[in-house]
Subunit: 336 residues, 2 copies
Amino acid sequence: MNEPVTIKHIARQLNVSVSTVSRALKDHPRIGPETKARVLALARELGYQPNVLSLNLLNNRSNSIGIIVPKISYNFYSQAISGIEEVVIAAGYNNMICQSNERYEREVANAAYLASHRVTGLIVSLAGSTQSYEHFTGLLNQGLPLVFFDRVCDELATSRVIVDNQRAAYTAVTHLIEEGCRRIALLAGPPSLYISNQRKQGYLDALRMHAIPLCEEIIGHSDFTEAGAARLTQQLLDLAEPPDAIFAVSDRLAISTMTVLKSRGIRIPGEVALVGFGNDSILSLVSPTLSSVDQDPFEIGKVSAELLLRQVTTGAAPEVRVIATRLIVRESSRKR
Amino acid sequence: MNEPVTIKHIARQLNVSVSTVSRALKDHPRIGPETKARVLALARELGYQPNVLSLNLLNNRSNSIGIIVPKISYNFYSQAISGIEEVVIAAGYNNMICQSNERYEREVANAAYLASHRVTGLIVSLAGSTQSYEHFTGLLNQGLPLVFFDRVCDELATSRVIVDNQRAAYTAVTHLIEEGCRRIALLAGPPSLYISNQRKQGYLDALRMHAIPLCEEIIGHSDFTEAGAARLTQQLLDLAEPPDAIFAVSDRLAISTMTVLKSRGIRIPGEVALVGFGNDSILSLVSPTLSSVDQDPFEIGKVSAELLLRQVTTGAAPEVRVIATRLIVRESSRKR
DNA sequence: TTGTAAGCGTTATCAA
DNA sequence: TTGATAACGCTTACAA
């Protein structure tokens, strides 16, 4: 039960003051070379580790970046986190990862937790149920740098890293139209989320551009959960006139949809074509392989971290970055 | 840029001392009801949030549990983390999640980072490359409660949450034998890892029990990466006498193996049967669906957290828990 | 070159 | 019932 070594221990053993020890350890100029050597030697011998808590208290600021994502188990987010991590660690910071589990209350708690730890900045993707942003406005007013990615908040003047959701959705739906689909259902996300609306807008654009009449009954808003997607899919299939294609605004929804389609013996893409969003690594392994919009989550994470660190170190203004997407066509939507 | 409110601000505004404010906020008995009301009112109005850093420094202990896993993107670990989180949050703690990325150096850095934040305890699954444990022995000697799960260290006297790897592997290999396979390859993990050896032992047991001769050339040790598994699979298939089944000690390895088999046009399970370990949610979606050993990662996480918290609160002794597994037979190993 | 002392935000102890 | 003070580990003017 040897308790942690502090500079006090070192000072006492060496019969010098704590400030001398501090200076020796910090490469301070005004210190005798011999004293310095003695301190460093003993510090090493005792396995001295600076107490981060006290340093953070002193600076009123920790050396960590806070990350809040809906769920780390979502492939997209764990990859984005890896991207963030690469940049953050190279810059000498650490990161504190939190998941909201898609719940607003957890997101609020996470934000408070990270703020109370005086993180250097915050990188956030919103929970599906989040509809108000006071838990962030307060922090912004305190001057805490904040970067949203993927599920961003467009009401706050922060950096944002997004893909061109509207264009990507437009491309995906146009692809379905070109494959001959005419009754294309949309499996959307919660209307409260910006990206959800953007993707829906792209869907609407594509229909309009190709003079396909809009039909509200084949547009379903999910809560981004598998269960919700499955329920909506069942409803779509039970319609008098079921769709001949489904565009799901996330891969998890698409997978859930696929499971339902298969369980009802519906051929993909023969009877119903399917396109997802996110290009999860799973998609090329399932059968049929699933078409999707590739978003490069690792890159999105990296850029998010870069924007945040730039804001921290150079005081740069918030910035919006749009990352390129591309449609990956696989079996689930190839009808000819 | 309004800076965080402290008890000093409140004290000054109310013309009382900081200790009075502290007492009011902490429901201390010796405080005038009127003063208390005034303090609470102002604290609420100003949006006072206690400074966690100073509290942690004072107690030399944070209110968080540290978690180190090889990769949060591995389905097994993100689910285990969710299990841990459920218990930890219900008990009023937070958690700090770190990933070693399978690298020993990151694991050491993570351990130091979490220790320096004076986490209440540590829940760890080892990196594939970890072969020495000094980064943990020091912390143990400082009295930091430590629980290993999944990839545990059997050289340290800590709590451990594992499955009966040897028995599970035995069952899986026996299943392959019963399906008629006679030349069963083992795709093992790094020999430095305890679980890797346990699973290998189960494999050996099964062969011996069924009088199947052991053949060293069809036993390959991977580093738990997809690339490594793919390389080993290629080698196995290039043998003069390739295997008629492969038992991979992790689902990621199995998936990688499956990809190679498919790319070479080898029928599963017709020519080569395949069984994985972990029962990743992906397995029922791939084609053919993959047999695997189910480990219940959520439960493993929960139990790990429970053991840790018990140790923290009641000073209970370290304990080893074995979680039940079951073999899930799917298409990839069903030959009749 | 080294030491003293204040301070970061909070709580606990002691005194008033 | 309240206030002053020390302490947690560390850094940094300022003094010596």
